[in-house]
């Protein structure tokens, strides 16, 4: 089976048939063995062993290496073609909705509906672990809706503020 493997913005082709493995067309030596009683797997790639923590997720794998987890999508040709036809992609809608990046307590809402914002403007101050964290915009915009108020506890991912493109 030939797989298209995507990590962040990068993509490689891996072909697996029995014990033989090709990476972007080139034959490589590669074996993967699970380590009992742990979420770890040992990859031996061209004579070098590496240990990854690996968990399966929808459409891919979460692979943790050196303390960092990567979401890796693995698609066969059929799935990939299907996706390209329908234009769907595993990404996460950015849109104009600013969400809480962690659970916490809303200390202050620093904007009002209709307000025009520069890139990087502070919108909400969230307290977590006794530290205040200012949430900022990632681009210029106009505040369309405010979903929280001061004193409110929010879960991670909760909608805070909706921002739309400034007109002009």
């Amino acid at each position: 089976m030939k797989y298209t493997v995507t990590v962040g913005k990068q993509t490689v082709e891996v072909e697996v048939s029995g014990d033989s493995v090709r990476l972007n067309g080139e034959p490589i030596g590669a074996t993967l063995i699970g380590i009992p009683q742990t979420p770890l797997k040992q990859l031996v790639l061209n004579g070098r062993a590496r240990t990854f923590a690996m968990l399966r997720s929808d459409g891919g794998w979460s692979v943790q290496a050196s303390g960092r987890a990567w979401l890796v999508t693995v698609e066969d040709e059929r799935t990939r073609q299907l996706r390209e036809l329908t234009g769907q992609r595993g990404g996460y809608a950015a849109g104009g909705l600013i969400r809480a990046p962690m659970p916490g307590l809303v200390v202050r809402v620093e904007v009002e509906a209709g307000q025009r914002l520069e890139e990087g403007a502070g919108v909400v101050v969230l307290e977590a672990m006794k530290m205040e964290n200012e949430i900022t915009t990632s681009g210029p915009g106009v505040v369309k809706a405010i979903h929280v108020e001061a004193g409110q506890a929010v879960e991670k991912g909760a909608p805070l503020i909706e921002v739309v493109q400034p007109e002009g």
Binding site: G8, P39, T51, G91, Y92, P101, N133
Partner: protein, 507 residues
């Protein structure tokens, strides 16, 4: 003194319980609902549940702590750091109950706890201080006026503060106004005291602190310095001893100043005098932490001393076991704080469960931690999971050892600061020792480049493809581990944080 109640949690509670056992003392643990399965509970000879998870109902609840001590027959209390450690009223309550407080006298805590008062005292005692106000500013405008007098840039600081809470740098009157509100609000929620004072902000300083120890026999000594300049928002991330910027002569002068500071308040037990050290080698008293410090292990490793056991001896009325003459450090030690913060998402606090833990071991490596496989990481307490400490014959060897120790560490289930530390250990201004308090601001962005490197991409992609291929062949879930379903959710959240980063980021 036979039975010590440890009024804390996490790695420091475990650290103290271990010291008690090594000193032949019983240890009593206390815990909140969230900490029922915590390592410090397992290690103690007795354990008392204090109450619900919020600190105010458990680790900060003086009455419940005193009750736990009475019920378990404890005759001494060690406060650790944070929580009630620098609250004079707690030290007093312990004393009034007829128990030994393992720390300085309440008067010393009080003298150093009020930051403006402490600076006044230090100036009087001949310890160099940074120019600044000696009174708290009444309001933002008073702070603006004071700033003009002290000279920009200025630092706004909570009177009751510590640990970076309630602190802001301001380079203009406008920044003073904005920062004053934030600092006061943080100070109010953290300490219940929103007084703020103003001092001159020393440019490109290093944060260098001196460890002191004092016993009841009139001995007050220092154990050299710790370099703590790798900070983020005034929170220390990496500490080392000795400092690359301190030579023998400077060490002796700073040590003498620190001993003088401690003596001027009648200090007892372990404490730390923090200084700013400027590029010209001038140093200024910053504050004194009247407690055990998170980063005490680097000092222990180069001086061959157990600071917590010395605290226990001193509290029991024994002399410390250290010589009066200045001791000589052996080799070099570095500590990396491993926190449940995602360095690639602006160090946002993360939650989860530790589904697997592989601890670095071998020569010269020390791991002081409050987590184990199975530990739940919540948001009730601070984000410190553990401390990784490496010792080497010299600084270069200590750094190389820290690298390999970081390469060995595996924590599955919650994102941590581990990859940040690994990058710092290879970053040139750190490895050369040429860094100061602005380190992270200057190199942070480049250091924390979030994309995957070419070197990492191929093995990860091949592993995922092989795992996928195997999973399809087997047509069964591939995880070896039975209850991986629960693990998955917490861990995938971490892997997916990139998605959230694109919409909002903390500052």
């Amino acid at each position: 003194m036979n039975r010590v109640l440890v009024a804390n949690r996490g790695e420091i509670a475990l650290r103290i319980i271990r010291a008690c056992h090594e000193q032949g003392l019983d240890a009593v643990a206390v815990y909140s609902e969230a900490d029922r399965l915590a390592p410090h509970v397992k290690a103690a000879d007795a354990a008392v549940e204090l109450g619900p998870s919020p600190a105010s109902e458990s680790y900060l609840h003086v009455e419940r702590l005193m009750d736990a001590a009475a019920r378990t027959g404890a005759d001494a209390v060690h406060p650790g750091y944070g929580f009630l450690a620098e609250q004079a009223h707690f030290a007093e309550a312990v004393g009034q109950a007829g128990l030994v407080f393992i720390g300085p006298p309440p008067a010393a805590i009080r003298a150093m706890g009020e930051k403006t008062e402490a600076r006044r005292r230090m100036a009087k005692a001949g310890v160099p201080i940074v120019p600044g106000t000696t009174e708290a500013a009444d309001d933002a405008e008073a702070a603006v006026a004071a700033s003009a007098e002290v000279g920009y840039p200025v630092l706004l600081k909570a009177a009751a503060g510590g640990g970076g809470k309630g602190m802001r740098v301001a380079r203009s009157a406008d920044e003073v106004r904005k920062g004053f509100q934030q600092a006061a609000s943080e100070a109010r929620s953290a300490f219940g005291d929103d007084r703020i004072y103003v001092e001159r902000f020393v440019e490109r300083p290093r944060h260098v602190e001196i460890q002191v120890l004092a016993d009841r026999f009139g001995n007050t000594i220092h154990l050299g310095e710790r370099e703590c300049s790798v900070q983020r928002r005034h929170q220390k991330l990496i500490e080392e001893s000795p400092s690359p910027a301190v030579d023998l002569d400077l060490r002796l002068r700073m040590g003498e100043a620190a001993v003088k500071a401690a003596q001027s308040v009648g200090y007892l037990s372990a404490g730390t005098v923090e200084f700013l050290l400027d590029p010209q080698g001038r140093f200024y008293f910053l504050e004194m932490n009247t407690r055990l410090q998170v980063e005490h292990p680097v000092t222990e490793m180069v001086y061959g001393v157990d600071i917590v056991r010395e605290q226990l001896r001193i509290a029991a009325g024994e002399p410390m076991t250290l010589p009066g003459r200045p001791m000589r450090p052996r080799g070099h030690a570095i500590e990396c704080r491993i926190t449940s913060e995602d360095p690639f998402a602006n160090f946002l606090p993360a939650t989860g469960r530790v589904d697997y833990l592989h601890v670095p071991t071998g020569p010269g490596v020390r791991w002081d931690a409050g987590i184990e496989t199975g530990s739940e990481i919540g948001l009730f307490y601070d984000s410190l999971l553990g401390k990784l400490i490496a010792w080497g014959e010299n600084r270069e060897r200590a750094i190389r050892r820290m690298r390999r120790a970081l390469d060995e560490l595996i924590i599955v289930g919650v994102p941590t600061s581990q990859p940040f530390h690994r990058r710092v250990m290879g970053e040139e201004s750190f490895t050369s020792g040429e860094y100061d308090i602005g380190y992270l601001e200057r190199v942070g962005e480049e250091l924390l480049e979030p994309g995957i490197s070419g070197e990492e991409l191929q093995p990860i992609a091949v592993a995922a493809a092989l795992a996928e291929d195997e999973a399809r062949a087997a047509r069964v879930p591939t995880h070896e581990n039975g209850s991986a379903a629960g693990a998955e959710s917490a861990w995938l959240r971490a892997a997916r944080m990139g998605g959230l980063r694109s919409t909002g980021r903390g500052r």
